[in-house]
Symmetry: C2
Subunit: 112 residues, 2 copies
Amino acid sequence: MKSTLPERVKGVCSPPSIPLPLTRVDASVELLKALADPTRLQMIGVLKRSAQPLCICDFTAAFELSQPTISHHMGKLRDAGLVDVTKAGIWAYYRLNSHLDAKTRALLEVLV
Amino acid sequence: MKSTLPERVKGVCSPPSIPLPLTRVDASVELLKALADPTRLQMIGVLKRSAQPLCICDFTAAFELSQPTISHHMGKLRDAGLVDVTKAGIWAYYRLNSHLDAKTRALLEVLV
DNA sequence: CGATTCCATCGACAAACGTCGATCTTTTGA
DNA sequence: TCAAAAGATCGACGTTTGTCGATGGAATCG
């Protein structure tokens, strides 16, 4: 079953209208970039499954990466609004942001 | 309403188990990277809404980017398995891959 | 054949990114 | 008061990415 292709004339292009609002595209891209890294995606997966907020030193022990790198990745997730942090003493506890909008929640539901 | 934080002892970290299979993480990251660009996300949005396959020259006219750059982005979407191409004469017609798995379809449903 | 059109590929370049060691701040506790 | 621990930030480094102009290949048409 083969659908017919649209007819064309040489030298004539009809640009399609861009359907997505620019602000929405930018927001989505920012979110996608925050998630498009193996370490960060794993972090989100761990946090999504955890009933308790998790100390960042636990992530440092779990991944074979240096402490600054773990901190860097968690900072990216923080900047993207995906996680919240609570400091207590010398520890920093992270958890999934509980106020994520519906689209973001749906995305995480699919991904992790 | 404040949930209590887990108790901790200095110098003792308990790494959480990594919940996501490595192959799944890699596949997801590849998909996310393919989508994490404004131009490519717009392209997917256009293709998702189009009943007809679209000629790449139409995209070249729609975006303020050079022809090689448009081709480069479409190639990335092709490598990620998101779009299919049909060549006819001098034209290359692109459409959304009709055999996307359920997770990917769900992702696109949320995003574009 | 020769010119034209579409499109992919190549090479180059700047910007962004992931990673690390070193350093600094804050908090704890002896 | 001082040492140790957690974690953020800084500076540097190599890699990846987005972009372009130039080139090459295939199809079309006079």
